[in-house]
């Protein structure tokens, strides 16, 4: 009986509570305020995210758990949550102009982004299969809606529907896997599962369940062979939404994939490492080859993101602290590169017409030197050319893979990144050596800001790499 009355200690979840309460409040504000409310809701949503970020930084300390160990807060989760909040707020900032011009500037958009962010934070902190699923579903459901947010466009509706149907399928697989894991270990809590597996051998059934869990999570990070939705959804959904998909949800899904592998299943690491190695190789290779033939830059970035997920998984496949540190750094760098590239795509506008073809970038260097330079820096960085940030991301994951003795994986990864460099460099070539087209419209101020921040990060990464690597190291140590 007393157990029933034991009130859940919710202290560590204060950042989540801030986001949840402000999402509810902003929903009311938007619904009841007379007249145009999207600007106000947008800025308040940004403020709420900043507040939550501040709360995360202020409450830093040792690992804590809440809600009967269903929710855990450690350095890893804090780091990833800050990243997610940064990604979400950058998307909100990037969306303002776009949504206005497309006449879809409704107050529900920031509210849905807030709720998706909440789902991601819940995923990152999930310490059990139920909390994992709840966070994942909250996040995905909000994402399906924002994918179809431009509901008068057939492509956007198609993107939303496609994402929804495939997402429902992946949720089903995840649930099926979770039920098997629960059945064979007797618990949904990660710590209890880990303790059980230390003492017992769960057999083939657990591995079977684990495969389904990984399949469900691999869908969310769009790793091969669960990547089919990515190019279509990125192409169809509004560009800032595509930028959002490429940034924050990937961070959250990657974090929960890391936690789900490292925290409950260290005892059967050999089993899941095989799967991760396969998924990683397949993603790197497909990302490198399928992007070559693309003409639409959003599709190209979609394939590029598939490839990058493969590179990040190399670190997870190593399964060591160094590997996880590599993944954390890789995801940080990846997010900033992607946000910057998408901000450049958002700036591709001529005569009020939005452009998405790579050929529209032709001769950009002569019309807009700065944008061409920054975009080529992003492309060099995505390709992994030193001394830009992307190189260090790859360096840390491959280093971990080699130390873990995964030589074939590292070699295939390096080869794939060489192939991938081809299409990134092609964009640079188009911008600098092709016959120029008409100039783009001047860039909006907030896009300039995003591009400047991510551009500086990418170019100057080597200067402040040390503190960031130390932070990532502390985060990686905290989940083992």
């Amino acid at each position: 009986m007393m157990d029933f009355l034991d009130i859940a200690k919710a202290g560590p979840a204060i950042p989540e509570l801030i986001i949840a309460v402000s999402a509810l409040g902003l929903l009311m504000l938007g619904a009841f305020k007379k007249g145009e409310s999207s600007d106000l809701v947008n800025s308040l949503a940004l403020f709420a995210m900043a507040l939550a970020g501040g709360a995360i930084i202020l409450t830093s300390g040792p690992s804590q758990s809440a809600f009967h160990n269903a929710f855990v807060v450690d350095t890893f989760s804090r780091f990833m949550k800050i990243l997610v909040l940064f990604g979400s707020s950058a998307t909100l900032i990037m969306s303002v102009q776009f949504m206005k011009q497309e006449r879809i500037d409704k107050f529900e958009y920031p509210v849905l982004i807030l709720l998706a962010t909440l789902g991601m934070m819940m995923m990152i902190s999930a310490n059990g299969l139920i909390s994992l699923y709840m966070g994942l579903e909250l996040q995905s459901l909000a994402l399906y809606v924002v994918a179809a947010f431009n509901r008068d466009s057939t492509r956007s509706s198609e993107a939303g529907l496609k994402y929804f149907v495939l997402g429902a399928l992946s949720s089903g697989m995840l649930l099926y896997g979770s039920s098997l894991v629960y059945g064979f270990t007797g618990s949904v809590n990660f710590d209890t599962i880990a303790a059980f597996l230390k003492a017992n051998d769960a057999g083939v059934g657990l591995t079977f369940g684990l495969v389904f869990v990984i399949a469900g999570l691999a869908f969310k990070i769009s790793a091969v062979p669960f990547h089919m939705w990515t190019p279509d959804v990125y192409e169809g959904s509004p560009t800032p939404v595509a930028a959002f998909f490429a940034a924050a949800p990937k961070i959250a899904a990657m974090s929960i994939l890391i936690r789900t592998m490292i925290s409950p299943f260290p005892a059967i690491a050999a089993d899941w490492q095989q799967i991760i190695v396969f998924v990683s190789i397949a993603s790197m290779v497909l990302g490198a080859f399928a992007a070559i033939g693309q003409t639409n830059i959003k599709r190209l970035l979609a394939y590029s993101s598939i490839g990058h997920m493969g590179f990040a998984l190399v670190g997870l496949a190593a399964g060591s602290t160094e590997g996880i540190r590599g993944v954390i750094l890789y995801m940080t760098i990846y997010m900033l590169m992607t946000l910057g590239s998408f901000a450049c795509v958002l700036a591709m506008k001529r005569d009020g017409q939005r452009l998405e073809d790579i050929s529209d970038l032709a001769g950009l260097s002569r019309n807009s030197k700065m944008m061409a330079f920054v975009l080529s820096m992003f492309m060099f960085s995505l390709a992994g050319i030193p001394p830009l940030a992307g190189f260090f991301g790859k360096y840390f994951v491959f280093l971990a893979a080699i130390k873990a003795g995964l030589y074939p994986l590292a070699i295939i990864g390096v080869l794939a990144s060489v192939v991938g460099a081809f299409y990134y460099l092609r964009i640079v070539k188009i911008m600098y050596f092709d016959e120029p087209e008409d100039a783009f419209e001047p860039m909006a101020g907030e896009l300039k800001m995003i591009i400047a921040v991510s551009g500086l990060f990418v170019v100057l990464f080597a200067l402040f790499a040390n503190p960031l690597v130390n932070l990532a190291n502390a985060a990686a140590v905290s989940i083992f």
């Binding site: 029933f4 929710f71 409704k106 509210v111 709840m134 459901l141 509901r151 098997l180 079977f208």
Partner: protein
């Protein structure tokens, strides 16, 4: 005891038979009806094990709301099921192979399954004395599982916001009935009395 056993078998057999009929009924409306029958019998089973709250929830939520909605959808969609079944024979071999693979996989899992000896005691754990099962559920749901409960609430909220965002059209030039305005109408503002002089017209 015997009466309870009798009812158990009655409910259990009807539920299974109804569930089978859901799959085999040719008319989708009949399928939905059989599903309702299966739910009602499942509710009966819940009552037999003393979980009357769950039984009532099952009837109210599933039969009362979900199934009625289903019935509307099925009737409105007007799907021609004989057309859907046309390609059945050509797909049957492939379907059978997939079914067989799934079956072997399930058998593999079942053979490696060992039930924890403590599981039986957990299953049979009774509700504490003096607490109705509604209260017992509430006590767990709002304390120990408050996080999941609230998270589920947020998921449903997102579904609701999504449905509204994607379907609600505000059309400003449509004339709607505004009862407040209608009631607030006053003869002074609605009727104008003209004093028409004889022989002059308006």
């Amino acid at each position: 005891m015997t009466v309870a056993a009798l009812f158990f078998y009655l409910f259990a057999f009807t539920a299974i038979a109804a569930a089978i009929m859901v799959i085999f009924a040719r008319n989708p409306v009949h399928s939905v009806m059989f599903l309702i029958l299966a739910f009602v019998n499942a509710a009966g089973l819940f009552i037999l094990i003393g979980a009357e709250f769950l039984a009532m929830i099952l009837i109210v939520v599933y039969v009362g709301a979900v199934m009625v909605l289903f019935l509307f959808v099925v009737m409105m969609l007007d799907i021609d099921f004989s057309k859907l079944r046309e390609g059945l024979n050509s797909y049957l071999p492939l379907g059978a192979v997939i079914g067989l693979i799934m079956m072997t996989e399930l058998l593999m899992i079942l053979t490696s399954w060992n039930i924890d000896p403590q599981a039986a005691t957990v299953v049979a754990s009774p509700i504490p004395d003096g607490v109705t099962n509604t209260e017992a559920i509430g006590l767990l749901l709002y304390t120990r599982y408050i996080y999941f409960f609230q998270a589920a609430g947020l998921v449903l909220l997102v579904a609701m916001i999504g449905a509204i965002v994607l379907t609600l059209h505000h059309r400003p030039n449509i004339r709607r009935q505004n009862i407040e305005d209608q009631i607030a109408r006053h003869p002074h503002s609605a009727i104008e009395v003209k004093d028409v002089k004889p022989g002059q017209g308006v």
